[in-house]
C-alpha cells in the first residue's frame, strides 16, 4: 500500500513521459506537435527532481534540516537573510537565465530537433542541475563563499588562480558573443536599432525617477518604463518607414560594432543608478514575463514542428555552424543542458539567502530544470518555423548570397525547398528589409516567437510587433549583461594589475578605472570586431569558443564537487559528479582539439589561417578581405583563436590533474578532510 501510493503517481508520470518521448523520437512521416516535446520534457524533469535530486540530497549531500545555514548564522538583514523558498527560487532563476538557453538550441536546430532535445534533457538531469545543486550545497556549507575561493581552499592556490584567469577569459568571450548577437540582430534593421537605442533614454529617465522623483519605487517606475518601451516598438515601425529617419537608423554590422564598443565603455563608468540599475529592472521583468508568455503561447497554440526530427547535417556539413554532432552539438547547447557560469551564481548571492538546507534541492536543482525548460521552448520556437526560412536566416552570406533569389536557390539546393516569394513575404511580415543571413539565433527565435504569439494574439497584423518585441527583449538583457560584465571585467583587471601596482586597485579614482575599463572593453571589443568581419559569419567562430569555455568551467566546477565528495569520504557516490565531468572533458577537449587542428578550414582555426596565408603568398585576396592587410588580419585572428582554444584545453587538463591529486589524497586520508564551517544546530526560538 505504502509503496504504491508513494511511487504510483510517479510511475504514471514516467509512463506519460516515455510515451511522449517515443512519439517525438519515432519517425513516422507525420508532423509532431510541439506539445509532445513539452510534455516529454516536463515528465523527465519531474521524475529527475523526485528521484535523482532526492538521492543526491539524501545520500551524497545528506542535507540536514536542523543545521544552520549561512543566512541564519550571519543574518545581517542585508547580504545574509533567511529567505522564503519561492522568493529565492525566483531570484536564483532570474540570475541564471540569460541569452544562452535561447540561442544555443536555435543554432542546434540545424541538426533537427531530436539531437538537441535529447542533449538538453540528458544534460540537465545528469550534469547541469547536478552542478548547480552541488556547488550551491558546497558554498552553503562554507558561509556562501565564491567558486574561486572554494577552488583555492579545497584544491589549492594554483588551481584557484588558474580558475580565476579562466573565468576572465570566458567572460571576455561571453561578452563578445553576446554583443555579436545584438549586432547580427540589429544590422540593417532601422526598426530594431531605433527601439533598442530608445532603451537608453528610457532607462535614464527611470533612473532619474527612482533617484530624485519617487526614490525606490521600483514597481511603478518599471510600469512606466514598460509602457515607454512598447511605445518605442510601435514608434520604431514609423521611424523605419520614414524617408529620412529610416536610413538614419540603418547601420552596417561594423558601424554597430563600434557603437556597442563605445556604449560599453561609457555605460560601465556611469553611476549605476542612472543606467544599469533601471535597465536591469526592465530586462529582468521583461525576461520573466516573456518566458511565461512564450510558455502560455506554446500551450495555447500547440504549433506543429516543421523541422525534421533529424536532418542530414548531423554529418557536420551544416551551414549554420560546422562540425559533427559529436562533439559540437554538446558545446553548441551549453546553457539549458549544463553551464559553467551557473557555478558562479550558485556560489554568489543565492547560498547566502537560503533559510533551510532542505530548500537547496528546489532552488539549485529545480532552478536549473526551469532554465532547461526555457531551452526546450527556444528549440520549439526555432523548429515551428519553415525550415527553409530557418536556413535562409542562419546561413552565411558567402553561401546564400544577399538576394531572395540566390538565397532561395541555395537553400533549396541544401534540401529545404523555399521560394524567393516566401523569403520576401517573411521579411515583410516581420517588418524587416531582409531576413537573409541573420545568424546569431536572436532573429530566428524572434520569428519563431512572433509566429507562436501572433497565432494567439493579434494574428498576422501583429507579427512585426511581436518580432521586434522579441528582438528588444533579447537585446535588452544582452545589453545589461554587456554593461554589468564590463564592470565585472574591469574590477578583475584592477585586481590583477593591482597585484603588481597596488595603487591601481583604487576603484574610486578615475585614472585606473578608465584604463581598466578600456582594457576590458578592448578585450571583448577585439573579438566582437573579429566576429563581425568574419567571412563565415562570426557565430561560427565565436559560439564554439564560448561553448567550449563555458563547458570547461562546468568541468572545473564539477571537478571541485568531486573532490569535495571524496573529502567527505562518500566516494562511492562520486559517480554523480565524475560521469558528467568525464563527459564534459571529452567534449571540450575533442572540440578544442578539432577547432585548432582540424584540416577542414571551416572547423580548424589553423587550417583556415593556412588557407589565407597560402593565398596571401600567391598574391591573391580571398573574400571578405579586400586587401593584403585585411588578409593578414584574418590570419592573425585565426591564430589568436587557436591560442585561446589551446589555453582552454590546458586549463581543463591542469584542473583535472589537480582534481585527481586532491581526490587521491582524500582517499588516503583516514577521515573527513573537507573544510566546512562547523556544524551548528539552528538555535531554538
Amino acid at each position: 500500500m505504502g509503496a504504491i501510493s508513494k511511487h504510483g503517481p510517479w510511475a504514471l508520470v514516467g509512463a506519460l513521459g516515455a510515451a511522449a518521448l517515443s512519439i517525438v523520437a519515432v519517425e513516422r512521416g507525420e508532423v509532431v506537435n510541439a506539445l509532445w516535446l513539452v510534455v516529454a520534457a516536463v515528465c523527465v524533469y519531474l521524475i529527475a527532481y523526485r528521484y535523482y535530486a532526492k538521492f543526491i540530497a539524501d545520500k551524497v549531500m545528506r542535507l540536514d534540516a536542523k543545521r544552520e545555514t549561512p543566512a541564519v548564522r550571519h543574518n545581517d538583514g542585508l547580504d545574509y537573510v533567511p529567505t522564503n523558498k519561492s522568493v529565492l527560487f525566483g531570484h536564483h532563476f532570474a540570475a541564471i537565465a540569460g541569452a544562452g538557453p535561447l540561442v544555443g538550441p536555435v543554432l542546434a536546430a540545424q541538426m533537427g530537433y531530436l539531437p538537441g532535445m535529447l542533449w538538453i534533457l540528458a544534460g540537465v538531469v545528469l550534469a547541469g542541475a547536478v552542478q548547480d545543486f552541488m556547488v550551491l550545497f558546497i558554498s552553503m556549507r562554507r558561509d556562501g563563499r565564491s567558486l574561486g575561493e572554494l577552488i583555492r581552499s579545497e584544491l589549492g592556490t594554483i588551481p584557484g588562480i588558474i580558475a580565476l584567469f579562466g573565468t576572465f577569459l570566458i567572460m571576455v568571450i561571453l561578452l563578445a558573443v553576446l554583443a555579436l548577437i545584438v549586432v547580427k540582430a540589429l544590422a540593417e534593421s532601422p526598426w530594431g536599432t531605433f527601439t533598442v537605442m530608445m532603451t537608453i533614454p528610457i532607462a535614464m529617465l527611470m533612473g532619474i525617477y527612482t533617484r530624485y522623483i519617487r526614490p525606490g519605487k521600483i514597481g511603478e517606475v518599471s510600469v512606466i518604463g514598460f509602457l515607454l518601451l512598447m511605445a518605442a516598438i510601435v514608434g520604431g515601425g514609423s521611424v523605419a518607414a520614414h524617408p529620412v529617419w529610416g536610413p538614419a537608423f540603418t547601420f552596417t554590422g561594423t558601424q554597430l560594432c563600434w557603437l556597442l564598443i563605445g556604449y560599453g565603455f561609457v555605460a560601465s563608468i556611469l553611476p549605476v543608478w542612472l543606467l544599469l540599475a533601471p535597465r536591469d529592472y526592465l530586462s529582468t521583468f521583461l525576461k520573466i514575463g516573456t518566458i511565461v508568455g512564450l510558455a502560455l503561447g506554446i500551450a495555447v497554440v500547440a504549433p506543429q514542428m516543421q523541422m525534421p526530427a533529424m536532418t542530414k547535417f548531423v554529418d557536420g556539413t551544416g551551414p549554420v555552424w560546422s562540425g559533427q554532432l559529436f562533439p559540437f552539438l554538446f558545446i553548441t547547447i551549453a546553457c539549458g543542458s549544463v553551464s559553467g557560469f551557473h557555478a558562479l551564481i550558485s556560489s554568489g548571492t543565492t547560498p547566502k539567502l537560503i533559510a533551510n538546507e532542505m530548500d537547496a534541492r528546489f532552488i539549485g536543482y529545480g532552478g536549473m530544470l526551469m532554465e532547461s525548460f526555457v531551452a526546450i521552448m527556444a528549440l520549439v520556437s526555432a523548429c515551428v518555423i519553415d525550415p527553409g526560412v530557418y536556413f535562409t536566416m542562419n546561413s552565411p552570406a558567402a553561401l546564400v548570397g544577399t538576394t531572395p533569389e540566390t538565397a532561395a536557390a541555395a537553400v533549396t539546393k541544401l534540401g529545404f525547398a523555399i521560394t524567393p516569394e516566401t523569403i520576401t513575404q517573411t521579411a515583410q511580415d516581420v517588418g524587416e528589409h531582409t531576413i537573409i543571413s541573420r545568424a546569431g539565433g536572436a532573429p530566428t527565435l524572434a520569428v519563431g516567437m512572433a509566429h507562436i504569439i501572433s497565432s494567439a494574439i493579434g494574428g498576422k497584423a501583429m507579427m512585426a510587433f511581436w518580432y521586434h518585441f522579441a528582438i528588444l527583449f533579447e537585446a535588452l538583457f544582452i545589453l545589461t549583461a554587456v554593461d554589468a560584465g564590463t564592470r565585472a571585467c574591469r574590477f578583475m583587471v584592477q585586481d590583477l594589475i593591482g597585484l603588481a601596482v597596488p595603487a591601481f586597485k583604487e576603484t574610486a579614482s578615475w585614472g585606473p578605472s578608465i584604463v581598466a575599463t578600456a582594457i576590458a572593453v578592448g578585450a571583448w571589443g577585439y573579438f566582437l570586431y573579429q566576429g563581425v568581419t568574419d567571412p563565415l559569419g562570426g557565430i561560427n567562430t565565436l559560439w564554439p569558443l564560448f561553448g567550449i569555455s563555458n563547458q570547461m568551467l562546468a568541468a572545473v566546477a564539477l571537478t571541485l564537487c568531486t573532490v569535495v565528495i571524496f573529502k567527505m569520504k562518500r566516494e562511492r557516490y562520486a559517480f554523480v559528479t565524475i560521469i558528467p565531468t568525464i563527459w564534459l572533458c571529452i567534449c571540450t577537449l575533442t572540440a578544442g582539439w578539432q577547432k585548432i587542428f582540424s584540416a577542414d578550414p571551416r572547423i580548424g582555426f589553423l587550417a583556415h589561417a593556412d588557407r589565407y596565408a597560402t593565398a596571401l603568398a600567391e598574391g591573391k585576396v580571398l573574400a571578405p578581405a579586400k586587401n593584403a592587410d585585411q588578409m593578414a588580419q584574418i590570419i592573425f585572428n585565426d591564430r589568436i583563436d587557436a591560442v585561446l582554444a589551446a589555453m582552454f584545453i590546458g586549463l581543463v587538463l591542469a584542473i583535472g590533474a589537480f582534481g585527481i591529486l586532491s581526490c587521491l589524497k582524500a582517499l588516503r586520508a583516514s577521515g573527513w578532510t573537507a573544510l566546512e564551517s562547523d556544524p551548528r544546530a539552528v538555535p531554538a526560538e
Binding site: 537573510v81 531570484h91 525606490g216 536591469d280 558562479l344 551564481i345 574590477f491
Partner: protein, 73 residues
C-alpha cells in the same frame, strides 16, 4: 462570506510573495525584515532608512568591486 477573510489573507500572502520575489530578482531585499532584524539584534543601533537601504542594495548589486549583478549567459 465567512471564508473571505481567509481568502484575503491568502491573497495578501501571495501578492507579498510575488512582490518580494520581483524585488529580490533585481537585488532589493525585504526592508521590513531588515529593520526588524536590526531592532531585535542591535537595539542600540538606528537602522538605515528605507531609502538608504535601497541605495545600499543598489550599490551592493552593481557597485564598485562587486560583481554579483553580473548575469549569466
Amino acid at each position: 462570506m465567512q471564508r473571505s477573510p481567509n481568502l484575503m489573507e491568502r491573497w495578501k500572502t501571495l501578492s507579498k510573495c510575488v512582490c518580494d520575489g520581483a524585488k529580490l530578482m533585481v537585488g532589493q531585499g525585504d526592508y521590513a525584515a531588515y529593520a526588524e532584524h536590526v531592532r531585535r539584534t542591535h537595539p542600540d543601533r538606528q537602522p538605515m532608512s528605507e531609502l538608504e537601504f535601497f541605495r545600499n542594495r543598489e550599490n551592493a548589486r552593481f557597485g564598485v568591486g562587486n560583481t554579483s549583478g553580473f548575469r549569466c549567459c
